[in-house]
Each structure stands twice: as structure tokens, then as C-alpha cells.
Symmetry: C2
Subunit: 498 residues, 2 copies
Amino acid sequence: MPANAYHKLEELFAKLLRIEDAIAILQWDAAVMMPKASAPARGEEIATLKGLHHKLLAGPSVASLICKANNLDMDDWQRANLAEMSRQWIHAHAVPARLIEALARATSACEMVWREARARGDFKSVRKSLEKVVALTREAGEAKAEPLGVTPYEALMDLYEPEASEKRIDPLFADLEAFIAQTLPRVLDRQKGAPPPALGPVPEARQKLLGRKLMEVIGFDFSKGRLDESAHPFSGGTPYDVRITTRYDEAEPLKSLMGVAHETGHALYEMNLPEAWRHQPVGRARGMGMHESQSLIVEMQACRSVEFTRFLAPLLRDMLGGSGPEWQADALLRRLTWVSPGFIRVDADELTYSAHVILRYRLERDMIRGALKVSDLPEAWNEGMRRLLNIVPASDAQGCLQDIHWYDGAIGYFPSYTLGALAAAQLFQAAGKAMPDLRGKLEQGDFSPLMTWLKTHVHGQGCKGSSDEILERATGHPLDAGFFKAHIEQRYLNSDNY
Amino acid sequence: MPANAYHKLEELFAKLLRIEDAIAILQWDAAVMMPKASAPARGEEIATLKGLHHKLLAGPSVASLICKANNLDMDDWQRANLAEMSRQWIHAHAVPARLIEALARATSACEMVWREARARGDFKSVRKSLEKVVALTREAGEAKAEPLGVTPYEALMDLYEPEASEKRIDPLFADLEAFIAQTLPRVLDRQKGAPPPALGPVPEARQKLLGRKLMEVIGFDFSKGRLDESAHPFSGGTPYDVRITTRYDEAEPLKSLMGVAHETGHALYEMNLPEAWRHQPVGRARGMGMHESQSLIVEMQACRSVEFTRFLAPLLRDMLGGSGPEWQADALLRRLTWVSPGFIRVDADELTYSAHVILRYRLERDMIRGALKVSDLPEAWNEGMRRLLNIVPASDAQGCLQDIHWYDGAIGYFPSYTLGALAAAQLFQAAGKAMPDLRGKLEQGDFSPLMTWLKTHVHGQGCKGSSDEILERATGHPLDAGFFKAHIEQRYLNSDNY
């Protein structure tokens, strides 16, 4: 049987994924293993593979295969696969090679300047570099907007969270802002005194054993993945070889432990992708929003629940040799759910975290629209922080210089974090409805009901449908912030245990 | 200025090297870091990159660029670069894609069968798989023989040791065989009693610190490389990021230590390749023979010398906390230079090692010629061992099944080991002549004169000329076994210290 257009596409995209997977391992290595002085050569190697990938993907012959394949009979998975191929082709084809190269150079230069600027809290020194990155990124967004049929900023979001729309996110985030404004003072009022003291010092080696134990409890398969250390924890590798990292703070083992829980949530999404399709685009993770929902359902919904802390507290005492009141389940829960508005996003609790994202979403959207000048960014940032959390950073290092994203060209990424937090609450409540004993199982350290449910309803769905379609099939509703708000109210305002 | 043919070739080959370097890191990762279950996916990733590499290299447009470039004015480095490009193109172009794929499948299947067969000492079970590999490898050799202007077996050697010839190696190895036959009984006679006892047990962590210390003494730059563990020690990575491995035997720290010395010799060759040219073929290592000479000059010539053991013995006592007669320099030297004919190549001393290589050279040459049937291999092996070392293995596991090379398709590789041993002796004696204080410096733990000399005369030469040309420029002679024989006689027959 001669290969038809669809089969030819499957062959091509399998090859593209193998190149992407090779790049993922090289990037993991660069963050975890590589000696520093090798960075420039590694940059060249990865750029070369990306160039080969782009050349294979972006050509007009791929488009004509997609057009031909559209007319063929195929099942739902194949149809969804073709849709994902088409989306990837548009992203690759829309941006001319000249612009890709200019962006690569501009972001790489800007990132270097940013590291210095952040260390000195000196926004001015990076302003020009960022202006260039924003201008070029806007150009890329504009180039993709028409073929995708969306706004330039939506075209940028689409790379991370397909089909995310401003019309949808604007009111969603406005509603969340109001909820935070209303809820935060009540939580802070109820949350008297200080958080329990840190559990350290605990040597790294013990924290590592504990982290591995928690990964096993959650369901991580060490025959297909690794745990390592890196300066910035992440989940990397491939669905066949999932690699997460953490960093250890001897003074507080809960930091690395909750980091490991978070990354293990990401990892299980990858490990549970549909076996039959993971060599094709449709068999890969849906997007960054759905990915974040899986890290947060493990970390925030499950591991910081009152039930799981009852399992976790004796495990911590056993493995870390602790004793005293701060090692009891109630103190542990209090520490794991302590709310405290601060300047730094990555240190934020789950209530104020969304405020950090809302701020960044509005600022980056406006920069791409041209409604906010890069030179006005620090002031707009501080004004937004005052409005959202009623605090103002003393330095841009704690303000608009804190995150690498913009300086690295990742504009359009931030909303995924909060879309993921909302989806996590929605999925966890649906799972609890489907399995009334879910929380009881977590109290016994049994993640398998939750993970089996997620594998069926999320992980195993790959890209079969949009995030909203997957969510609706899984929970009966498209994304709805009501579940997140209910979760916050239950955990922080109505619970006796807290 | 428009790019001329030569500049276009430089651009292409820089890209090819970046792909090769990416593959090298993925292979290192597979041996050192990768979870076992990820092996099939990694195999696909590497095969995909190799396929892209081959497609870029093997086409006729590359040949026409080479033809055009041949007529251009260029300096010696560029001319040597073009020669190396040409050689690589012939290797890539001569073998049709069908044969490359058949070889990849046959060797991958044969290697798996071999692992089982070796474990059971059952040659018959792997015979058919090996016949297929030999037949396909012969076909590849025949395809390359004409364009390279050599015999099929020489074409296979050329991949590892360019310009190696049967006419040259046949008498060289016959002479070495006679030398071993004459020398070995005299050494064994002189070497009375038993070797000193092993220095262990020493925990892995201490051996690792000691290994790193020795690497620093030799000149390894840890800002551009790593030391790790793997089942089979090797030197991998790229010239920008050199990664060596070892394995630890708690009972005998000298095993990993000498392994580390050996791989560090390989590593320094890579680290010292010409800075201005290492992004081009001419700036890479000359071949496997020259590479082995660099590992052996460090391990065999320098680290096992009477002078260096005087530096090493107190270091071992300090770092491993040892005391007693076996920790004295004379006992250490005796242990490091103990001669003992055995069945296993990788455990052999430097005198009997060549016998193992001579045997394999003759057998693989005859298999490719069709003068030796695969089914007759075990008998021919045992007959050869009787003739060369007067011992006969009781099982093929200790005979023709011991090495992975043939079963993995690496036919033509073995001679490099002994060519390297001969070159190492020749280079070390030339360096000693140029710097009369060389051995005195080693006694102080100072490798810098040796390494500076090697950087100038070998490492920094890249592929500028053949192995023989590099050797002749460095030592005043083409490859000559006389230096190796003189070294063996001095160390094992004439020295007082031993």
C-alpha cells in the first residue's frame, strides 16, 4: 500500500519529535551536568538541531500534505493529530528565518544583560535589550496572528496554551482579582500568629531520600526517569525518559519536598501520555496550562491537603528523625498552607500567586499591544503590585526584573500558571466527586485512585481536543474559576483543621 | 565577498560536527545517566540524527564543492581540512542507504544475541548473527575499497586509523610476535614470586577523590569536562566538553586509578585540539591509533614509570590512609608493571596486550577476505592463543566471545590499540630526548613538560597530515616498533628498580 499524505505526515512528525526529544536531553544536560565553560558550544549544537527541525517542518510541502490529508477518512485520534500538525506548521511557517535568527540573537543577548541588571536591581541597563526583544516578539506575534485567526498576543499565548483568548482571560482574571481582594484580608485575619518554625537543618542526602520516597508514593517510575539537582528546578527530558530536578535548602526540607511533589506532577503527565500516540504530536502534553494543572493537582491539591499531611507527618519524623510539636500533622499543614503576600512569584502561596500572574498577564499583553512602553514597565509593575497586593517592591530586582521569562522572549507564557491552578482545583473536585474516598486514600498515602483517574481523563488524552474540551470531558464543565474559589474558601476560611 | 566552494564546505562541516557533538553527548548520557527502559527511544533519537547527518554529508553536491575547492589557493590547514572532508565524504557516499540500514539492524540484533551468548559461553547461538554482520561489513568494505584505493579490509581500518595498510601491519605484527615469544619467557623468569597484594578495600568515594586528584595532576580542566561512572569506562563528549568514566573495585583502587589515567590521556588530546580548527574536521583527533597513543603515553609510559610511582606512593598513602610495605614505591611499581599472560585482553599487561591484538587483527582480516569462515572462528582463536601466548581458553566466553567489537560491527578497529602502544613509546622517548629532565619532572608529579610537548607535537596538530606524518614531524621517524621494544626491555629486563 503506498503511503498516503497522512502517513507521510506521521513519518515526518515522528522524526521531528525525535529531534525535539534529543534537544530536550541536551537541554537537561546543560542545566544539570554540563561544565559551565561548555555553554557556548552546547548553544551552537542545540541551535543547529533546531535549525534542521525548522527546515523539515516549515516548508510548503508539509502544508500541501496537510491539505491533502484533510480530505482523507480518519479516526478521531488521527484527526486531532492532523489538527496539531497544522497548528505546529503555522507556528513554524509564519515566522521568516530572518526573524527567528534575530529573535535568537536578541533574547540570548538580553538574557545575559538581564542577569547583571537583576543582580544590581538596575532596570535601565536592560531596557534597550528588552525593547528589542519585545519589538521582535510582537513582530512574530503579528506574523502568526493572521494565519491563526487571533490577536498578536493570543498568537504568542498559543505557543504555550493553545486557543487561550484575551476575551476569555480578561474577565476571568478580573473576577479573580476581586476574589483575592475580598478573600486575602479575611485569610490573613484568621491566620493568627506566626507560621511554625522550619524543620531543618536536614542534610541534603536525607532530603534526597525523602524526595525519592515521595516520588514513589505519587507513582513516579524510576525505570523511566531521574531526580537530580539544578539551580532552577524543572521537569525535562522526554515522555520516555522523564527527568525532574530540585534544589536543597538544608534549613527547610519542605521546600525541596514540595518542589519535588510539583515536578512529579509534571512528570506523571509525561509518563502517562498515550502509549500508542506519544511518537506523534497528538500524543504529547496539551499545553503549559494543562501541564501546570498536573503539577498543582499533586502539589497544591493533594500534597498540601489536610488528609495527606496526616500521612506525611509521621513519614517525615521517621525519615528525618524529627520530634516536637512542629513535626505534628497540624503544624505541618499550617506551614504548608501559610498565606503571606510577598514580592516574589516563585515564593508565593496559592492565593496570592494568581495576583502575580494577573499583573504579568496585563503588562505583557499591553506591551505587545503597544499600550505600555517598556520604559514605563517598572512604574506600571509597582502600581499593579500596589493595586493587587497592596505592597510595593523597594527595588526592581524584587519587581519587574525577578523573572527570566520576558528577557528570554517567553512572552505569553505567564497566564498558563493561573489557568493551570484553576484547572487543578476543578479536576481535583471532579475526581473527588467520582471517587468519594479519594481524600481517604490520600490519608493512607495512596495516590493510585487520583493518578488512575488523571491518566484516563487528562494524561492519556494527549492533545485530543483543546484544553477546554479535555476539561469538559473530564469534569462536565469548561474552565470555571468557581472551583478554585471554592477550594480556597474551604481550605483557608471554612476548614477546622487549619 | 561571495562564499567560495571551500567556505561553503567549512559551513557544512561545522554543522556536521555540531550534529556529531550532539550525538556524542546523547551517547554519553545513554551510558552514564539514562534509565535503562529509555534505551529504545534513545536509539531512535540517535538514529534520526545520524540519518540527518548522513543526508547532509553524502550527497553529490558535496563532492562537486570538494572538486571546485581543490582548485583554490589555500594554506596548509585548509588543504588538510579539505583532504579530511574528502575522506569523510567517500566513507559516507560509498555505502548505499540500504546497506547502512541493514548494517544498523544486523549489528543491533547481533549485539543483543552476543550478550546472551557470552554469558553462556555459547558461540553457536550467535554464529548466524555474526555471519550476517561480517557479510554486510565486507560489503561496506568492498564498496569503499575502490574510491579509497585500498583493500576492503583496509577500507574498514581507514574509518578508525586512516591510511593503515595490511602491507605495513603484517610484517610489523610478525616482528612483534617474535619479540613477544623471545621476551615473555625472560620477563616471567626474572619476575619471581607473586605480585604485592591489592591495596583495598578502599571505599568508592575515596577512590573518586583520588582519581580527580590524579586528573588534576595530569592536567585535566574540570571547567571543560567531567568524571563519572559507567559499566565500561570510556572517554566521550566533545572537545568542548570532555567526559571520561571509570568503574570502582573496592578491593583494588589501582584499577580505577590507572583507568582514570588512561582516559585522562584520551581527554587531554581532545582538550588540546587546535582552538582555531576544532569546529572543522582537520581540528579533530587524527584517529583511533593516535588517540590510543595518548591514553597509553599517560597510563603506560608516564604513570607506570619508576619515577612517577615515587610521586604516587606517598599520595596514595596520604589520600587512602594506607601503611605497610605494599604502599611503598617499589611495591607499587611492581604491582603496576606485573606481567602475566591471560585470556582477557582488557586485563592484559602491556607486553602480552599486543599478542591479543595481533590475534584479532589476523582473524578479522581473514574473515573479511573470506579466508576464515565465521564458523571456524573459535578454533582459529584458540589455535592463535596457543601460538601467541601458549594458553588456551576453556570457554569461548574467555575466547572469541569476550569483546563486543565484531558483534557490534567494529571490524578494523583492533589494530589501533597496538599501533597506539607503539606510537606512545616512540613519542615518550622523543619527548625525553627533547627534555632530558622529563622523568625528573614526573617524579615531582609535574606533567606539564610532557603535556606541553604533546600539545605542540600531537594534540594541536589535529588532522594536519596522516598519523605517520604527525609522528615523523614529532619524533623524526615514521612508526617504528623499535622504540616499544626498547621500552619493554628497559622496563622489564634491564631496570634495577623492578
